[in-house]
Symmetry: C2
């Protein structure tokens, strides 16, 4: 397709159409190493107008496109399956001036979460969603996947941070409105349609973000408890009595042992307990009359019979040290092999039983598999990591997801469907619902050029 | 269509298919009296399954349907235009048990806001959106129109209160998931697609609502200031320093005079000022260490040079008395004629000029028209009410909306497009954007059976 490449080069510049396999390689494999495919070219536009032109050219030639942000997704939704063009949005990284009065900023889809936070913090604001991949994950990708992260109980998922957005359809048409208005009911809400659509309906190019007040006091506690049941009781207490609550994360002794082995960190508490909770509170200057975050947290923990051992930190280094035991699970697991990563939500009343049952179900299929669980306990969101089974063997994945559906959970809490879970979609959604999703896809991308194979396998499209 | 009526009766029961013109009349005219049409029948199903059956029958016979909740909309989106069947959702009024631990409840689309609040309050929770039509407005209608109301600065619009929903497509297919999970990224988000879609894409039948903590301390201040500029400066101060802020509403001396005439209430403050702000603060028990709401409010107001006169109330009767000056504008205006109601958002930096300019633009067309403005100042959301011009003459509406677009505002802040503003849609959205909206409509309702003529005029559909 030399003439197509020439046209693409004339739009984005020669150096931003990559065809050299070595240069394309980083765009072809996902963060976990589990999902990879081949692309003939990676195109790196810098503006919405360039994205529009690139998509117009692709549409004219029937070339399918995989939009890619920071490529930090975990379900294979941002890497080519076979032959698609990769549209990298990372050069759309402009960050507008922060509106310090109203807590708003317009950012390019390719701006990383860390870069936006760096711009917001000096103005007294922050982004409501935080996650470990903050240095690479882009705002566009986070909206397209409706990223969740560790502060969802306080601020909601990424969709809630969006005042408005601009996007480009498969045919090159620009839709949406920037700057957006917080109160604006003029027709359909593209932010509501596109958040969580995983690049299958349109390519997000700019986002008008609502920021949250910067936390000025933060306190982190690492708390050891005896079991999941007890942990959930404590979570309920914290939620009811601590408005400053930002996060309640869980990990488990076996996982913490692996993290300690990998990092050389010591066991964090004076007592060894089966369950460890990472609890963070924070208050903003406006709301605060002093050390509310730490006082409130200490008060609740002091009265909690459930707590077997605890460590608290308020300074930045100390907080980071406590968070590391939870945060470094992901990298630790990756050093042990290519994990099957299942990101699920379990209703609270089924969570304790699920924690044990999931191991049994995995071992029934793969007796030697290692199961490492951790996650956002206050949301019921557990990341089940399974090491051992071949990356291409989906048997354990399916067994876990079936269990999740049995107990009324979600087969994808925050990572989306991608290609990893598309064959399980029918477990979670009715045939009529999936047909409606296909109709929505068909309405907005009738020739299936945007991220084909993501959410639905291509065979199920109507075309 | 006797055989169709027979089939409908067999689904919902004889008494719930209304054909008598006297019985149908209340469903045919909107709250303002400005929008009305004729229907051959009003069908009142009681369950999602009945809604599905009714829509299946209508689809089979090509009968267009207008979904209707409390019929409190102000843009003609819930009354028939000519010959559609009215599908009343009011009998879907079941309210499930309130989850007191997590602040959630599943409600039928026909449950009124007031009824849901009555169920939530004893459990220590409330609904984040409040509006004057609370006794009639239904939750389904509020989601379908993405209702805003007076607490948007604190809790966001209706779309933000939705954890998940269940809806029925034009062909009778049930979509969505109830109960929903707060963290659930499995495919497209129907709540994001349907919130604000005004009944044109699917009929919402049940909603899983996120509640907000019940306010235990509330304080209301009615504050007189000299002009809009000054009022906005005060709003900025309140937003930055008062986390307990729930509402900042504005009305103006001319409107308050009308309200006083209509209600017999005296002028509310010791001094007459051109602008009156209704400010409400509230704290929940968990966050509160006493009278935070009133203390914080008094402190900020005490330091504000802008305040010319003020009255504060913390008891329920006193708060209601102060709110009445703002809340009773709507009914007062209605006693003076059939108003043209334009609900717009104006960027803050253009608001003061807009307040004067809009009167000039109206008077250029209708010199004798009376313009009454009030609204949700902290959102930049102004309700422009125009009395005088014939209800069917859209010239003043168009002049106002053109001004709104000129200054970068929204032609519909919270009421939606309905039929009232569909001809102005092209002022606010690009041709490409409108084409994308039509494609979305076409994808989900290809034969245009749901609320035809709402958002787009039927002539612009692709079919």
């Amino acid at each position: 397709m030399p003439s197509v490449l020439g046209r693409l080069r004339s739009v984005v510049g020669d150096e931003h159409v990559l065809t050299d396999p070595d240069l394309c390689a980083p765009y072809e494999t996902d963060w976990t190493g589990r999902f990879h495919g081949h692309t003939h070219s990676v195109v790196r536009p810098a503006t919405t107008a360039e994205v529009s032109e690139v998509l117009r050219i692709c549409a004219a030639h029937g070339i399918p496109v995989v939009p890619q942000g920071g490529n930090t997704g975990l379900v294979g939704g941002s890497v080519p399956r076979g032959g698609e063009l990769v549209l990298s949005l990372r050069r759309l990284d402009e960050i507008g001036p922060v509106d310090a009065d109203h807590g708003e900023v317009v950012v390019g889809a390719g701006a990383t979460l860390a870069a936006v936070r760096d711009a917001a913090v000096p103005a007294g604001w922050d982004v409501g969603v935080d996650l470990a991949a903050r240095d690479s994950a882009t705002i566009g990708g986070m909206v397209a996947t409706n990223a969740g992260g560790s502060q969802l109980i306080r601020y909601g998922a990424m969709s809630r941070q969006v005042i408005g957005l601009e996007a480009v359809r498969a045919d090159g048409t620009v839709i949406g409105r920037i700057p957006a208005l917080r109160k604006d009911n003029v027709g359909y809400h593209w932010s509501g349609v596109l958040a969580g659509s995983e690049g299958t309906l349109a390519v997000i190019t700019r986002v008008h973000l609502a920021l949250v007040p910067l936390m000025t006091d933060r306190a982190v506690a690492l708390v050891g408890v005896d079991d999941v049941e007890t942990a959930l009781r404590l979570v309920g207490r914290l939620r009811r009595s601590l408005p400053s609550l930002l996060s309640v994360e869980a990990c488990f002794a076996e996982g913490v042992d692996l993290v300690c082995d990998h990092t050389g960190m010591p066991w964090p508490l004076e007592t060894r307990t089966p369950v460890l909770l990472t609890i963070e509170c924070g208050t903003s200057r406006a709301a605060s009359s002093g050390d509310e975050a730490v006082d409130g947290l200490l008060e609740v923990l002091g009265e909690a019979d459930e707590v077997r051992a605890s460590a608290v930190a308020t300074d930045e280094a100390g907080r980071a040290r406590l968070w590391a035991y939870r945060d470094r699970h992901t990298e630790t697991v990756s050093t042990l092999g290519v994990p099957h990563k299942l990101d699920v939500t379990i209703p609270f009343d089924a969570l304790a039983a699920f924690h044990d049952e999931v191991v049994e179900r995995v071992h029934a299929i793969a007796p030697d598999a290692r199961v490492v669980q951790y996650g956002h306990l206050a949301d019921g969101n557990i990341h089940v990591n399974i090491l051992g089974p071949d990356p291409d063997d989906d048997a354990v994945d399916e067994a876990v997801l079936r269990l999740v559906v049995e107990v009324g959970g979600s087969i994808s809490a925050e990572h989306g469907i991608g290609i990893a879970k598309r064959d399980s979609l029918a477990l979670a959604r009715s045939a009529g619902d999936i047909a409606a999703m296909r109709d929505l896809k068909h309405g907005l991308d009738p020739t299936v050029l945007l991220n084909p194979g993501v959410i639905f396998s291509t065979a199920t499209y109507r075309t």
